[in-house]
Subunit: 351 residues, 4 copies
């Protein structure tokens, strides 16, 4: 076995770098001067390309993080006295340090139950009808779903459409946190349109940072009446980048020749390979068959420790004792997965 | 005359791309995996390098825009009921769409007079003593100065120190918007330390985006007790980038071998060259001898129009009729300046 | 039976008027001019009186509503990136339309479980140690308990002290929403000091509006270092009343000769009388023995309807089908309670 | 001369108490129970009465302070990225500790010049057309004028209409801070309708606290589409009083038999009497002929000191050295004014 210097990292898809096509695009766009603040040609072309991809007119706003994309959308969709319905395990609820509350001037994140980190449409229908018109309570503001979820599970297209219908009945907007949008499309095999506006999504955080770019996310609005408000919210949050061409070049390369989809396929495939390899061992429990690039499983505590000692890295024991999260990325290789599986096998053999 | 395709652009230093050293650094840092959210080696090294540059212990927070850097600093230095003293012509007052007010939960920007876009220390001393302790009025929160200013002028080190003393007497912090910090150091010939903490600056927005990187600014804290608050404010604003190494690589290259200073020298030199060239014409008035990379002058209206018609681009008639702003960057060349001067000469000859 | 014009109302203690002593005090303080904004003698005397009542130095800020008192306290105790730990059934979480989130610039209300609407100290200890130092998560900000609770139950003094110890260990403040503070003291028979600062409470919303005044609540700070911040937060929320003497006169009369306690005793007694009377019927279930002036019980649906038809008023079927809430006040009389009980009896006899 | 115990106070109309009619109304409304939070009969009647007074359908929201009324209106009329145009000397700009900025999530107060503390319509027209559509700048949000102004001057009806036209052209709302609305109507002799919606006012802070009530102000909306938003903003600011009948009783008595107008006439008359009396002395300069109940004049410094020593109280030397502000109220009597004038006369005689 080669002396593998870099530790085997399954901590997060954030640990990967960027695709070579993206780096090349950065280099290419660097020559000459360009108008600042998004009035350059490259940026203006992104809207057209995303409109084609989504088969719908869109307004697009690039930002550098998913937290910014999500928070700006939510603050626009919900009034300050709104309820933002989301799953308890969602990123906006758990991992953004109350950024949505900050951006929205104190809207309230209201958890809606559902299995596998997915909002249940019936539960949502009940939630949006509670205390409507009661001045002492926040009012239906918007709904936010994550696709793929933080557990690596997926809403089916019809599940999204059911939620979309509840939103329509309640006259509130539907936001999708698509930080792993590509992974979802890759698995479901549906079109981006089917998974979004056709199912009722009004605003999408179209993620790219976790899937092969340096740091770029697109707010994609299917309801263009919100565009002006989004523009000012982005500016006031310090997310109107001056040299916007460098965000746009990333997004452009990401969209070109379906790099986004290819990267997601690779990432998903690696999670599948991990799952199959680990699933063969009796002492390991796969908690949820991976539908995207995240695998939750249960390891014996000593196994976790052994792997960490060998330089493997991944999150563990954060959700529950024994629970391990393995995340793959577009940059994960067969070699890395197999090496990890060998180490697991070796450790189990020794035990 | 060659058919110069790219228009001669003096709109903003934001129109330039990035230095090749910076692009190279991006490519270099792209291999392998790295810890996300700033816990990578490259990011952790930036603090050390800036500490050396500033000859002082510092806490450093990278963000992608100057508006973010400024607003996070101001919200940290001033309570929501604070007065943020600044010049009426400052970027935070005019060009950030009230982002500081948003971040700070409604602190009040209070203009302090002074010539050449610089706060006058005596006026500041008067301002910070008005209505102190009066519950109906915002209270002294912090001071923000811009170096170089939006007019391309500079505070001398002793002018900053005078302001620093007023801040100390009033027990409030001093922030420097250093989006063109390098240009100021290049002209003044002082050390970064002299221009900042030695003169009383507590928090600095250390700009790089306008001077050769793609999009990276550093919040540099000389008062480290503010670090934790800054960390949470950055996160909640969506400015804690996941793949932070890509911001850090830019900053690392920017600092290496004093690229920041070399770029600023070039930029300043080009403004000087423009000023000298234009100053020879009787019909053109140089409004303020350029100390950095910004030149304000007055053109006959027909001259402005003629140059625009020829594809030159620059801001004009925004401040006052006839007033033209020319901004150079690290990427501006002798050739471009001379070409512009030739066109001016030709136009004046024809008239 | 007399034709009782006024409907028998057990909707809320907010439906009652004010004690005659309070009305008299308003009249008395109306003569002559007085300094505005709380610099009048009457207002300045309130602090002394509350200091005596609480056997501790205090800073006092009068406001007109409990929502204001609570929100100002919470925004002061917790940073914007803080978790405000509270019970899911608390008023701040359910009935203030996210006012605490608005005042605090988006702090997050985090529910802590516990029976009878009371935070469990062990659960709290677990909650305050979760994700401490994790930049992606809100951090321990403060704890808020309600005494008496929204269910009419009470924390014992030692239960408060246990919570106070958790707060101290976690280095966060403890706030008490005392909108029914008097009812709690009346039942527990402890001193105000025992129930507050001696048990670790740093800031108290000392309620009076529900218990015999027109509209006045006191923020009572046992940690006076927060006083200046509270003063500015009150002003900016529009709660620094100009003719403050009229709030102070109410509070003064409320404190004088322990009117506050006498009113609470009457209110509690009437809830007790209701509970005893209703508890005799097999078809009625008392859900929680009333410790203050709120009684939750379960009525057959037809009984609820019958009583409503007869002009009785109370909240019902809001928490769960069949659940009825009866609230008494200082103004509730034996006559009213007995009349209500007679109607219940009559209805049950008919059935 | 009698030993006049109460100092002669011309500090503010806030120093006066309440009219006896108002106190009587409070007593009367105290009997029996009433629905809380404004669903009582008295409160619901206020809207009808104000609709009659203003000859227009209105939505009405009572709050306890002018700062609350103003801030809630401004936050509703302007988006967070809006400019709130006002005079530099306005109360919202100077005396509310940036409450409008807090409520509005950081909208920007932009000063518009004009003499006598009044916005000049031409200057306003220029201001609202600056940088429209420029993402880096706040956008036209709303206009706020004060009637009567902080200097005691008045807009004529046609001056308001001119401003109203500018607002209409710019498609932004016009707010009137009417904390001394009654004093203005009393002097101008116009109808409330003429001074408000007929001249383009969309939202009015209808003041009562300075003119004979304990503490009550009405937000009067002529544009009822804003009502729901105002309702939630009031609630979240802690200004939805539970025992609303006590605010309503004040307002009801204030409106009944034109008490509001009678009080204002008395107040204005006393300012007139002061002005005439003081104007006779050569050493005293009347800075602005009083149109309402505020008189600005210039006293020799020794005269100010002498009067203060004798127990007179008023604000002085706050705007400029030597400048004295005298404010009368509905409760000010001929006797008090004449006593003050005698003291001035005596002091001048001695000099």
């Amino acid at each position: 076995m080669p002396n593998f210097q870099t530790p085997l990292s399954f901590i997060s898809d954030n640990c990967a770098g960027a695709s070579s096509e993206v780096m090349q695009a950065l280099l290419s766009c660097n020559s000459g001067s360009a108008n600042p603040y998004g009035s350059d040609d490259l940026t203006m072309g992104i809207e057209t390309k995303l409109a084609e991809l989504f088969e719908h007119e869109v307004s697009v706003f690039l930002v550098s993080t998913g937290t910014a994309a999500n928070s700006i959308c939510l603050a626009t969709l919900s009034p300050p006295w709104g309820s933002v319905y989301c799953h308890a395990q969602s990123h906006i609820n758990n991992d953004e340090c109350a950024a949505p509350e900050f951006f929205s001037q104190g809207a309230k994140l209201v958890s809606v139950p559902g299995i596998a980190a997915k909002i249940d449409a019936q539960e949502l229908a009940a939630a949006v009808s509670r205390r409507v018109g009661d001045i002492h309570s926040t009012q239906p503001g918007c709904v936010s779903i994550t696709q793929a979820t933080e557990l690596g599970t997926l809403y089916t297209v019809s599940e999204i459409a059911e939620i979309g219908e509840v939103c329509q009945s309640a006259n509130i907007g539907l936001h999708m946190d698509g930080s792993r949008f590509a992974n979802a499309v890759a698995t479901l095999g549906c079109s981006p349109a089917q998974m979004t506006w056709k199912a009722g999504v009004k605003a999408l955080s179209f993620g790219a940072s976790k899937n092969g770019v340096l740091g770029a996310e697109a707010i994609v609005l299917f309801d263009q009446s919100l565009a002006q408000e989004i523009a000012f919210r982005r500016k006031r949050a310090g997310h109107l980048t001056s040299k916007m061409r460098f965000l746009s070049a990333q997004m452009d390369a990401y969209l070109k020749d379906d790099l986004w989809l290819a990267n997601a396929h690779q990432s998903n495939l690696m999670a599948q390979r991990l799952s199959e390899g680990l699933g063969r061992h009796e002492l390991i429990e796969i908690l949820e068959p991976p539908q995207a690039n995240i695998l939750f499983c249960r390891f014996p505590l000593w196994l976790t420790q052994r792997l960490l000692d060998q330089g493997c890295s991944f999150l563990h024991d954060r959700w529950e004792e024994g629970v391990v999260r393995l995340v793959t990325s577009f940059a994960t290789t067969d070699f890395e997965v197999d090496l990890f599986l060998q180490r697991v096998q070796a450790a189990l053999n020794e035990a």
